[in-house]
Every structure is written in structure tokens, then in C-alpha cells.
Amino acid sequence: MIEVRNVTKSYGDLKVVDEVCIRIPKGKITSLIGPNGAGKSTLLAVISRLIPKDGGEVYIDQIELSDWDNRELAKKISILKQTNHTDLRLTIRELVSFGRFPHCRGNLTKADWDQVDLAISYMGLADIQDKYLDQLSGGQRQRAYIAMVIAQDTEYILLDEPLNNLDMKHSVEIMKMLRRLVEDLGKTVIIVIHDINFASCYSDFIIAMNNGAVVKVGTANEIIDRSLLTDIYDLDFHIETVNNNRICIYY
């Protein structure tokens, strides 16, 4: 379980994350939603120790972030940011193999390569695995980076807007793949997501944030609520139930 206690993060005078307390259960998909500037991505970056917090504690399996050994933590939790860039000229397969670094420090064994192949086929990249990253479309590159995170094989997987650059088909594929990771392999997935209907259809829990604070935590059905969303997004919402999923119409 990931437990966040009173976490605060400020940039100058602006409190981006303000005294946030949440518990994220194991073996579920938890989505962070909220308008731009709500502090979702910052909170995700703090939980994954990409940026230092100004106050509070983050416990991953009852151990505070600062007490974790870097390398062990990298086998426990992985994070993928929205934008990724490297000067290295890498093929997809080479990029994905970097996911094994915490396990093998760059000397991949047969078992590591098996994991790499598995991640590549999971993301449907097998037939283009020897293409270079600069030859790929934005969506293919995004999937390659997600494959790298899968190869890292961590219990907790944190993704910051994984559907960025993806069309509807690939978005659906990614979300289904995340559900498989949770249901088949028992992973815990935490995502920041903008498309509220994807959050509604595929998450177990949703954390709604606004102005650096958590507004409400609950199941998808509890959060996809007209008055709550109208309040957070400052937008008129209409909610329909289609195939037992709550769909927002706000266009």
C-alpha cells in the first residue's frame, strides 16, 4: 500500500500540493483526476521521488521514501512522465532493455531478455522492435516507453497521462492492458488521466483533486457525480449510464 501523509510541495509562494493525505490500495487501478494545475502530476512525482517534497511523508509498503535504498525502490515502483526525450539513438528493444537496469545493472541475463520480450509483445511492438525511436510516431514512442516500465516489472506502476499522443484505439488498448496488469499479474497502477470517461470506465478508485488538495476519494461511481465534477471543473456536467459505466457529457 502507498500511504501519503500531509505531503506539501510549493513552488515559490504557490502551494501546488497542500497537506495531502491519501491511501492507495494494492492490486487496483487508481486514477488521479482534476483540472490543470490541480497538483496531480506533482503529487505523482513526489510519490515516485522524482521531486523532493517540502513536508509530510510517503510510505511505500510501510517504509518512508527516504529510508528506501534507491535500487530496491526501483524494483518496487516505476514512474513514467508525460514527456520523455533522449539524445541516445536507441531501438525500441534497446530502450525497453533499460527497464531491467535496477535488476541487472546493465548486464542483461537470459531471464532479463525474456522479460524485455514479454513487455514488447504486451505492448504490441514486436514487429517494430528494431526501429529507432526517432523513426516512430508519437504514439509508438509512448508505447515503447510504457513497455520499458513494464519490463521494469515493479509492483507499483505510476503513469503520468499515459494516453498522451494516443488515438482512441491505442488508448483503449493501453487501458485494457493496464487492467490485465492488475488482474493477471496483481500490479498496482496509479495514473494521472485527463479523459474523465476513461477514468470512469477503467479505474477501481478515483482521487479527485483541485487546487493542490484532495476533494474526494472513492470508487468510480462515487466520484463521477454531477455536482462534484461541476464544482471541480467549473463546467456543466451531464452524466449518463451506458453499459453500467458512468459517462460524462460536458461538450
Binding site: E72, A74, D87, F101
Partner: protein, 314 residues
């Protein structure tokens, strides 16, 4: 052609030019004298080449920029300023000038301290803004240069000739007295750097990815930076400032080898630097008859290559 074949060709070329340099014009009467002059030079060239290619490769990966060399932090001009200051204030007969080993140690410590101070201040204030670092390095470098030339103008002419010998990179006036200590300090850094090669690959993915993959980023960058400064200081103290060599060989290695592993790139850059330095030295000694110092030659080639890189980046 695979990278392995390319590396083999580079190795053969490096060994060939080194062999040529050692044996050219040898005969039964002069061989022991000539070799006693040439062997230390070859050793110095190997150390310098390794130090400069390794430090530049590391520095470029830390800063995520392929057109930088560690000298942007004002290291070369700091070296010159420090040498000028010692001679200016304490005279060429002082202990710091006469005892080259002491001079070496003090110089290296000063340069490490200075760089860490600059880097730490900038990194904290500007959160790793490379352009700001460049600008500060440039300004500090110019300030140091102006201070040095001011002192050089009013210094005793006899003292100036001693200083002049340290101003230009040259393998003819290699500081052989510090060769032993240079071999030791570089050797230690090479051994230590070995286990960081695969971590450098991860660093090139960017800070966030490196942290995600379990690299203790800030701590690692510090260690690498200290290594870079020790290597640069050693190379500079040994032969003088060689600004463009690192830029030239490391970029050529990336281009030629099309690899992503720093292990391969650093080895390639090292071989290229030996070829460049020994080849350049052969050219200077046998064709130009010592009329032009090798640093001028390398800065000319490096400068042209640098402009090409700039144009291409656009």
C-alpha cells in the same frame, strides 16, 4: 561494418601511428636517446587522450549537450590564472613553482573546489539550466583571462618566459616531472569510472528516467563531476589547455560508432584522441618542423568541426 570492426580498425590505426612515432628516424647510434625522449611523450599522449575523451564524454552526458566541453566552466582560464598568480606573487623560484608535484596537487585541488562551487551555486539557483552555466562559465573564463593578461603585462620579462612555457599545449615541453603523479591520479579515476559506464547510459535517458531506474542522481552527478575536473586538471597540468580535442573526438566517436553504450563511445573517443594527438605530433615534428604548436593545429581542426556541429544543429 559492425562497431567491433570499426573499433579494431581504430586500434590498428592508433597502434600504427604510435609505432611510427616511436620508430621514425631511429638508427643504431641514436635509438636509446630518441626512445628515452619519445616513450614518455607517448605515455603522456595516452594519458591526456584518455583523460580528455573520458571527461568530455561524461560531461556531455551530465549536461545533455553534445557541443560542450568541461572547459566551458572556465577551467582552462582558471589554470592559466593560477599559474600566473603563483609566478606573479611568489616568483619563479618559489616552492610552488619549483616543486611540480606540489604545484600539481594544489592546482588540481583548486580546480576541483572551484568547479564544485560554481556548479553547486548554479545548479541550486537555476535548477540545472545548462545555458546559464555556459554563460557564467564564459564570463568567469573571460574575467580570469583578463586578470591573467593584466598580470602578464606587468610581470618581470624573465618570469614571463617561464610562464609562457605553460600557456600553450605542447608535447615538446611536457611536464615529465609530474608524469608519475599524473599516471596515478588518472589511473585511479579510470578504475573508478569503469563501473559507472553502464550508469552513464541510464543518465543519458534524462534525470527522471535515471531516478526511476534507481540511480542516486544528485550524488552520482557530483562524483562524476569531481572525476571530470581531476581528469581535466591533470591533462591541463601535463600538456596545457587543449580546448577542442574532447569535443572533436567524442563527437566523432558518436558519429562513427552509432552506438548507445558509453563503454563503446569512450573507447572509440580514446583511440581517436591517440590517433589525433600522435598524428598531430608527427605532423608538427616532421613536416612543420616545430613551427606550429600542436594545440594550434588541434584547435584549428576542432574549431572547424565545432562550427560544423553548430550549423548542423540548426
Amino acid at each position: 561494418m559492425s562497431n567491433k570492426q570499426r573499433l579494431i580498425i581504430l586500434t590498428v590505426l592508433a597502434v600504427a601511428v604510435a609505432g611510427l612515432y616511436l620508430t621514425i628516424g631511429l638508427n643504431a647510434r641514436n635509438w636509446d636517446y630518441a626512445l628515452s625522449r619519445r616513450l614518455p611523450r607517448i605515455l603522456a599522449i595516452i594519458i591526456t587522450g584518455a583523460a580528455i575523451s573520458l571527461s568530455t564524454a561524461i560531461f556531455q552526458t551530465i549536461t545533455h549537450n553534445r557541443i560542450l566541453t568541461p572547459s566551458v566552466m572556465g577551467l582552462d582560464s582558471l589554470y592559466m590564472l593560477w599559474q600566473t598568480v603563483i609566478i606573479f606573487f611568489s616568483g619563479s623560484s618559489s616552492l610552488l613553482v619549483r616543486n611540480v608535484n606540489l604545484n600539481f596537487i594544489v592546482t588540481v585541488l583548486l580546480m576541483v573546489g572551484f568547479t564544485l562551487l560554481v556548479f553547486k551555486t548554479i545548479m541550486r539557483r537555476e535548477a540545472g539550466n545548462v545555458f546559464f552555466l555556459l554563460l557564467v562559465g564564459l564570463i568567469i573564463g573571460t574575467l580570469f583571462q583578463s586578470l591573467s593578461s593584466f598580470m602578464q603585462m606587468i610581470i618581470d620579462p624573465n618570469e614571463f618566459t617561464i610562464l609562457q612555457g605553460r600557456m600553450f599545449a605542447s608535447f615538446n615541453s611536457i611536464n615529465l616531472n609530474i608524469l608519475t603523479i599524473a599516471v596515478i591520479s588518472c589511473g585511479v579515476v579510470f578504475l573508478l569510472s569503469w563501473r559507472y559506464f553502464s550508469v552513464l547510459d541510464v543518465l543519458a535517458l534524462g534525470r527522471d528516467q535515471a531516478v526511476n531506474l534507481g540511480v542516486a542522481y544528485d550524488q552520482l552527478v557530483w562524483r562524476l563531476l569531481v572525476m571530470v575536473v581531476i581528469l581535466v586538471s591533470t591533462a591541463t597540468a601535463l600538456v596545457g589547455p587543449l580546448t577542442f580535442l574532447g569535443l572533436l573526438v567524442v563527437n566523432l566517436a558518436w558519429q562513427l560508432l552509432a552506438a548507445y553504450r558509453h563503454r563503446t563511445i569512450i573507447l572509440g573517443a580514446f583511440l581517436l584522441s591517440i590517433i589525433t594527438l600522435v598524428g598531430g605530433q608527427l605532423f608538427v615534428e616532421h613536416i612543420l618542423n616545430f613551427a606550429v604548436p600542436i594545440s594550434t593545429l588541434i584547435n584549428l581542426c576542432g574549431g572547424i568541426y565545432f562550427i560544423r556541429l553548430l550549423v548542423k544543429e540548426k
